[in-house]
């Protein structure tokens, strides 16, 4: 085991860096730029039972130290993901990948997870109960502990792969949702999805996003994410994947000190397509700077 390696739900990662779903497509845009096998793994674009275009545009806006998106889970649907996207990915990425799944009903989640369970390259299922940009599903499952645990049970019934529940920060008590997922059998928790937010164009007096509201991500949310990762990691025994505004090797260490076993990087990939590669390359020196031998030794150390 190298000094950067961590173990996430029984699968070894060469380092804890994971591009977050929705910021890395199905990997091959980035594979044109660098060898993406340097990553721990990556979480592919949120996949649903049926194909989706998503929300009307504009669906991107800039904010101080971050951005809003209201993409709304554009994806070709699970069948095409399995028949077209994953075979292409296989050519450029030779490790277990994290499959990100969204749904609008328990049956949707179960169907999509059942199909992805049969795909050998899928190492983990990251189940998104936290998308703020869709109606009648997504985040509504993640704002109530009872609904979140129903999703966990529905998914665990159809897969033997580790199930990581991706939670929304748009709740009054994230710990209660995380604990409900753990009790229902989840193998891990990832957080945070984006924070519900908006911007208004003063000239037109209208919201910038066609969908009115969207999710805030980027460095602006890092301290909020860190706080929630800390709270959840102290309340559950299953591994926690921390994300939200991470954009440097130092941020990765902070997230891990808060209790994260691995760290997802999202918005930073959009501003700098080399962000993950640069962070991975900077990690050894960052460990040296603080006299840390192995990165796994600092998990939950704060």
């Amino acid at each position: 085991m190298g000094r950067l390696s961590v173990n996430l739900c029984g699968i070894e990662l060469v380092n804890p860096v994971i591009p977050a779903s929705g910021t890395f497509g199905y990997g091959y845009e980035f594979a044109e730029l660098y060898d993406i096998n340097c990553l721990g793994t990556f979480s592919f674009k949120g996949t649903t039972r049926e194909p989706r275009f998503g929300n009307p545009t504009p669906r991107i806006a800039e904010t101080p130290a971050g951005m809003l998106n209201s993409v709304g889970l554009q994806n070709p649907g699970v069948e095409k993901v399995i028949s077209e996207e994953l075979p292409k990915l296989r050519k450029v990425f030779h490790k277990p990948v994290m499959a990100n799944v969204s749904g609008f009903s328990l049956e949707d989640y179960a169907h999509t997870c059942r199909m992805l369970d049969r795909v050998e390259d899928v190492g983990w299922l990251e189940v998104n109960v936290s998308c703020p940009n869709v109606h009648g599903g997504g985040m509504s499952f993640g704002t109530d502990p009872a609904s979140a645990s129903e999703v966990v049970r529905a998914v665990k019934a159809v897969t033997a792969k580790p199930v990581i529940m991706k939670l929304t920060p748009n709740v009054t008590d994230i710990v209660s949702v995380a604990k409900a997922c753990e009790e229902a059998g989840a193998d891990g928790i990832s957080l945070i999805n984006t924070l519900l937010a908006m911007r208004i164009d003063i000239r037109s007096r209208k919201p910038v996003l066609a969908n009115t509201m969207g999710g805030l991500s980027g460095p602006a949310v890092f301290p909020v994410a860190l706080r929630m990762v800390y709270q959840v990691a102290h309340a559950v025994k299953i591994p926690v994947v921390g994300m939200g505004g991470v954009s440097s090797a130092a941020d990765v260490l902070e997230m891990m000190l808060a209790g994260a076993t691995a760290v997802e990087i999202g918005a930073a990939n959009l501003a700098d397509p080399f962000a993950c590669k640069r962070i991975i390359e900077a990690l050894p020196a960052e460990l040296d700077k603080y006299g840390i031998e192995n990165i796994r030794d600092i998990i939950g150390g704060a």
């Binding site: 929705g22 910021t23 890395f24 497509g25 845009e29 980035f30 044109e32 730029l33 674009k45 275009f53 998503g54 545009t57 504009p58 669906r59 991107i60 806006a61 800039e62 904010t63 101080p64 130290a65 971050g66 951005m67 998106n69 993409v71 554009q74 980027g218 460095p219 918005a267 990939n269 959009l270 501003a271 700098d272 397509p273 080399f274």
Partner: protein, 244 residues
Amino acid sequence: MKESFLTIAENSPLTASVYKMRLTGDVSAVTTPGQFINLRLEGRFLRRPISVSDRGDESVTILYKVVGQGTEQMAAMCPGKELNVLTGLGNGFDPSAAGQRPLLIGGGIGAAPLYWLARELREAGKCVTVLLGFNTKSEIFYTDEFRALGCETLLTTADGSAGAEGFVTDALPEDYSYYFACGPEPMLKAVWRSASGAGQLSFEKRMGCGFGACMGCSCETITGYKRICKEGPVLRKEEILWED
């Protein structure tokens, strides 16, 4: 796509709000007129996507309009400054469809990417007509540059202060082999509806990444979902999905 560090060689105003910036460095990834580059600005989280107006051996020229804080910041930049730029983004125009007498239609700052296209078409011996539309006389730029390439250059202004009064669609010539258009979406829609024959239209959208990762700038077309930053910004007339 390539990450390049480009140095500002020139940054000067053409009108009260339109600037010309020439950047030097490795621009080898910029291969086709209609492609764009994505500039990282200090203190701004997202990059600024700007179409390439011309390309030299080791330089690109962009024309940009100051519309917000990012472009205000760009207007204040001095020669010598280095910028982190993603180069060679988007599909660009396909000039092979042009025929012998192509028409290039530009609205406002949309004239910018047409310059490089016009130069290439002229170098290929085509008879090029350029039709430019502006709001008013003080906003006009680059008509002399297009004329210097040997293009027949027609002009409209919405208020009639220069050229013909009206929009570009009021001044469409009768006879052309193919058209290329770039401008604000209402103009593109009007051109798509009223210009005869086949053509290519270049679109502008709010982008997240500019290289196909975030799906922020997607649109629906007859041939499926397209990302304006990756499968665009240029779409063919026949694949555009607009209701009449």
